[in-house]
Amino acid sequence: MKTQRWFTPWVLTIPALAWLLVFSVWPSINTLRLSFTNAKPLGGDVDFVGLRNYTDMLHDGDVRTALLNSVVYMAICLPLLTILPLLLAVLVEKRLPGISFFRTAFYVPVIASAVVVGLMWTWLLDDRGLINNMARALHVVAQPVPFLTDRWLVLISAISLTVWKGLGYYMIVYLAALGNVRKDLHEAAAIDGAGAVRRFLTVTVPGVRGTMFLVSILVSVAALRVFSELYILTGGKGGPGGKDQSLVMLIQQYAGGFYGNFGYASALSVLLFAVTLVPMIVLARLNNRSER
């Protein structure tokens, strides 16, 4: 049976495709082109330099550090932000008195201003901050824990901030998906005597599997592109020695201001693209396999 005319799918997809080609793909191709040049932000001659930006990258210790930071960041964020928001969504899914207030409140971190978030988190994590004061009062530690100045602790602190912000964001993605999980399955399972945990694992999780896949991709891409959390917590400096910089912070450093190295920043962007592609392909493979 013929269910559609051949051009219908294209009529439906072409506007979105065209938009992305003009505003995402084309600028990216341009970035690729610039990555082979010595382009500067302001004027001057632009020369083709071949692969020099890429070979420079290999010997750049900052790039290695940033890459390592980004990968660690992703490895920790991925499981946390794929699972915790789902649990939160299940928690607020049920209609309880005042639940819409909670739903809105949980979304607040997503839209809180970066400056204020930075201020509050510094209050928490500073040497004289809430956490250190409590820990010292309880004699858990003798010396304040250097949450904001130790190379790895800064990373962990920033990850907490990312998780904190991401909870509400991915929660609403899950909420919309939970609405589509068929209630009769839940009821059937409940009649079979399945407990809450069992029902979550056998009904809810399979019901939102596609969404979990999408969320895991979004989380890994966002984690590899982390910028503002590290920026906020380290006053824009990327920690002592710049050891807590992410790739995006490096890109900004090279591309920003009146004197940048735009060619090098473009090459770093290409590297970032390649790196973000990896988890996406891996996750897509996993998803395909489990679908079969």
Binding site: P27, G43, L148, P240, Q252, Q253, A255, G257, A265
Partner: protein, 416 residues
């Protein structure tokens, strides 16, 4: 947040090709036509003042009009970069010297010193701020000046065995008094910043080679200074948060009462007290340590202006003694015109703390020097800051940190 700089930078790149030169009609030496004036974060507080200046100009030169385009404080460099790249710079622009330098190098600004002896009108320090290594000329009229003062927390001084009437006057005294404070009050901090390039200049260390092509401040003397900070940090004279602090970090720590010292302009006192009114009467002010810094804001003229004569005339108008004096009466900043010295307002201490700050700062200006060479741009300062943080924390030796910083900064410099 500030990914934006990339965007702006990128915009420039891409538009390079598109930069068709629609050459301005320079036929008019007459002062006429519609021009635009771009200021930096001055409205709405000074809208009335700016409109008055504009009204005075258009009344003097009939047939002219000036459109005020005040830009928000955040993102100004990105905005200017985008304008510069797309040939849309306003006719008259408020630019600090470090913004003017790259634009001047690309011939985007008018040499306002050509055929005009600026030193008859403006103080030398102001003019020098708009003269750059490697380009001839003066690329902006000096506008308002400011410097830094030291602000001290009176209560913490008293509680910790110090006298706020005799605060440190030099960096070395700062170290000794910090030791006193630490001994009496182990939980308080006197020092609130780690060293930066201005501290090296203060100590007389040479920053660049004579030809301006290389940074050379990685000397033993500079390393010894960083060592001093490292030891002070180890002894707990500085709070650990200085390792991350940004440009305004010390004033925020000061306002919170976490440290007993900060630097700040002559307007600083008002800011601290507005944020934390409990600081009223608790802040002592004194002259800057060692050499006071000089901060200059200026007004430049776009070389692409359609009405260059008008734009130049307006830039002179807004920076003339009369208009600058009026500005200085509204807020604690100082005129860059020679004639303003005869305005007794600036040197007078009316007995209020803010009045004292104003008088002190005005007195300081004659010794004030630019302490951050314009070659050292914001990115380089960040690189240096990162390395110094590492050294102060004790992770690497001061010499190695400075060597690393200089190497990276030289790399950046060579690319310009």
């Amino acid at each position: 947040m500030r990914i934006f700089r990339i965007a702006a930078a990128a915009v420039l790149m891409v538009s390079l090709a598109a930069c068709g030169d629609d050459s301005p009609t320079t036929d008019s030496d007459k002062i006429t036509g519609n021009i635009t004036l771009q200021t930096w974060a001055l409205t709405p507080k000074f809208t009335d003042y700016l409109n008055e200046v504009i009204a005075g100009f258009t009344a003097k030169y009939p047939g002219t009009s000036v459109k005020l385009l005040d830009q928000p404080g955040d993102g100004y460099s990105e905005k200017v970069l985008a304008q510069a790249s797309s040939n849309t710079l306003p006719d008259v622009i408020n630019l600090p010297p470090d913004f003017a330098l790259p634009l001047a190098k690309q011939n985007l600004l008018v040499d306002v010193g050509k055929g005009d002896d600026l030193s008859k009108t403006y103080v030398q320090g102001g003019i020098d701020a708009y003269k750059f290594n490697g380009v001839d000329g003066v690329y902006g009229y000096p506008w308002y000046l400011n410097t830094d003062l030291d602000y001290w927390n009176v209560k913490q001084f008293k509680d910790c065995g110090l006298d706020a009437n005799t605060p440190p006057a030099t960096t070395q005294e700062l170290f000794t008094q910090a030791a006193t404070m630490k001994a009496k009050c182990p939980d308080n901090f006197l020092m609130s910043r780690k060293p930066d390039v201005s501290d090296f200049v203060r100590a007389g260390i040479k920053i660049t080679s004579d030809d301006g092509k290389q940074f050379v401040f990685n000397t033993d003397q500079a390393a010894a200074l960083v060592d001093q900070y490292r030891d002070a940090f180890a002894k707990g004279y500085l709070p650990p948060s200085v390792l991350n602090s940004d440009y305004q970090g010390n004033s925020k720590l000061f306002t919170q009462g976490k440290v007993a010292w900060t630097t700040g302009g002559a307007t600083g006192l008002t800011d601290f007290q507005r944020d934390n009114p409990s600081l009223k009467g608790q802040v002592a002010v004194s002259k800057a340590l060692d050499t006071p810094p000089l901060y200059v804001q200026g007004v430049s003229v776009s070389s692409k202006s359609r009405y260059p004569a008008t734009a130049k005339a307006f830039a002179q108008w807004i920076t003339n003694a009369d208009n600058q004096n009026k500005f200085g009466h509204l807020v604690n900043i100082f005129p860059s015109t020679l004639a303003s010295a005869s305005d007794s307002y600036f040197g007078s201490d009316d007995g209020t703390p803010a009045g004292k700050a104003k008088a002190l700062a005005f007195g300081e200006l004659k010794d004030a020097k630019n302490l951050i060479p314009y070659e050292v741009n914001a990115d380089m300062q960040k690189l240096l800051d990162q390395q110094i943080a590492l050294a102060v924390k004790g992770d690497v030796t001061s010499k190695k940190a400075l060597d690393d910083a200089v190497a990276k900064m030289n790399q950046m410099l060579s690319r310009q």
